[in-house]
């Protein structure tokens, strides 16, 4: 069954973010143009310093662009976006349940409705039994599951994910990637997923945006040809996947060599 895509649409045009500094300003991102369709799973890959997190923070309303426009069509969504942070960002002084409920409390969702939604979200990520635990009592994977539940429970038009699985061990990462893709396939929300792993991006997303650093620009946008629903394990072992990965690495290799040559000049 194909994914029912129903999320926010985003139109980014000429986006630029400069940070003023004592020795001239630093351009974090420049000339970023991107159209994201409702319900698209978009991955953004790039080396550190390519401004991928800056782009995400601007979308999340935590930072402001210097120039350019972002138009979000989130009609019909009470909550425009919800972010999943790299280090989970769970409040250490709240139980798992209180953390998941946080985005509903702040928006004044009635108690009975909030209870039901929190219940469903905890069940979705398999943490019902751990609802009264504090974050420090959980494993890294369980913490990220809680953070994902906290985002999904608000029913946002788009999910913003900033390298959410980067701190996990390889085994947990594979498991959580699979769970996230399944959640997305069920809900069809717009997802913008920032990662430094090309493999992860190709495995999960509909499209992969490759960025380069200094200043952060879009180098290439790749349409990932594999249909959803996906079996990530099987996909990662397939020859088609291997070939796509190889092609992209070739492009990147060239880019890395160019950057290195420039540095050594």
């Amino acid at each position: 069954m194909p994914v029912q895509r129903r999320g926010a649409a985003i139109d980014i045009a000429g986006l630029r973010r400069e940070y003023p500094g004592t020795r001239g300003s630093v351009v974090a991102i420049d000339h970023v143009d991107l159209r994201i369709a409702p319900g698209e799973f978009l991955c953004i890959v790039g080396p550190s310093g390519c401004g991928k997190s800056t782009l995400l923070r601007i979308l999340a309303g935590l930072d402001r662009q210097t120039a350019g426009t972002i138009t979000v069509d989130a009609a019909g969504w009470v909550v425009e976006n919800a972010m999943v942070f790299q280090e989970s960002g769970l409040f250490p002084w709240m139980s798992v349940e209180a953390n998941v409920r946080f985005g509903l409390d702040t928006r004044g969702v009635p108690r009975a409705e909030a209870n039901a939604r929190v219940e469903a979200a905890l069940k979705l990520v398999g943490l019902t039994r751990f609802r009264n635990h504090f974050p420090h009592q959980l494993s890294g994977g369980m913490r990220q599951r809680s953070a994902i539940a906290r985002a999904f429970v608000t029913d946002p038009g788009m999910l913003l994910m900033d390298e959410p699985f980067a701190a996990l061990d390889a085994q947990n990462r594979v498991i959580l990637q699979g769970e996230l893709v399944r959640l997305w396939e069920q809900t069809g929300k717009t997802v913008i997923y920032v990662t430094h792993s090309i493999e992860e991006a190709l495995l999960m997303g509909d499209r992969t945006v490759i960025m380069t650093a200094h200043p952060g620009r879009i180098k290439q946008v790749i349409d990932v040809p594999f249909p959803h629903p996906r079996d990530l394990l099987q996909l990662s072992a397939s020859p088609e996947f291997g070939k796509l990965k190889l092609d992209i690495w070739r492009v990147l290799e060239e880019e890395v060599n160019r950057a290195r040559a420039e540095m050594e000049k």
């Binding site: 976006n81 409040f91 002084w93 409390d105 608000t154």
Partner: protein, 258 residues
């Protein structure tokens, strides 16, 4: 190495913890019993213990202890609650911080006991002047620690709160207050010790009841053993109060990793 140790490492540590004070008291007792030192000026631990029992049974110690305890507790709460509020507001609102910063920087270093004559003028010789002194002394360590705790909450948590639609009041009640709690308790512990320090000093001159008065009065009457009873009592009160505060901290901050 002995194959079977009868004591767990934990028990061994506890014993070690007790050896230095008990050893010191034993040494003190033995020296005086051996005739080294003048017992009129330096009473033996056993003399102090007798006097302690004596004062406990005739009610003198209770009266003075209760007076001191009441003043400490009243001053501690009246001083630390506004200090916590001001510290949190300073962390949240820049103008408030700019307003309070120079006040704290200039008033904190003043020895609080130097304010006692002024407070006697304003509040008279009753409990109010002593409580006011404790309030002032407690305010500074608590406000400084609270501010430091709230200002150093990781940026990540502010970002999460903002992204999840938290209002200023939600940020205050659910993020800043809780994020600052460990540092608030560190400030309260300091404040507790400070309140005993300034109060006992204040009671030397400005009252007819309290542990400080008891100590000073015994100096004037050359009752050195009573003096020691007072000193030991203050130490015990501080120890018990700190233990209670730590117990409350454990209850209030269950997320603090062991």
């Amino acid at each position: 190495m002995s194959s079977k140790s009868p004591m767990s490492p934990k028990t061994q540590e506890r014993l070690l913890y007790l050896i230095s004070p008990i050893g010191l008291i034993a040494l003190w007792q033995l020296l005086l019993m051996a005739g080294i030192g003048d017992r009129r000026f330096v009473p033996a631990p056993s003399d102090i213990a007798w006097r302690y029992w004596d004062m406990l049974t005739n009610g003198e110690l209770e009266t003075n202890t209760l007076a001191t305890l009441w003043r400490v507790l009243a001053g501690f709460f009246l001083g630390s609650i506004p200090a916590i509020a001001v510290g949190l507001l300073m962390a949240m609102f820049r103008p408030i911080r700019i307003f309070f910063d120079p006040l704290i920087a200039s008033l904190f270093p003043i020895p609080k006991i130097a304010l006692m004559p002024l407070l006697l003028l304003v509040f008279g010789f009753g409990d109010a002047s002593k409580i006011a002194l404790v309030v002032i002394a407690v305010f500074f360590p608590v406000v400084i620690n609270t501010y430091a705790g709230a200002a150093n909450i990781e940026r990540l948590y502010w970002d999460v709160a903002k992204n999840y639609g938290a209002s200023q009041s939600v940020i205050f009640r659910r993020i800043v207050l809780f994020g600052a709690l460990p540092m608030i308790f560190a400030g309260l512990r300091i404040a507790l010790a400070v309140s005993f320090i300034v109060l006992v000093a204040a009671e030397f001159v400005s009252t007819k009841v309290g542990i400080g008065y008891m100590i000073w009065n015994s100096w004037e009457l050359m009752q050195v053993d009573v003096m020691f009873v007072g000193i030991v009592t203050v130490g015990l009160l501080g120890l018990i109060a700190t233990a209670i505060l730590q117990e409350i901290e454990r209850k209030v901050i269950p997320w603090k990793a062991e």
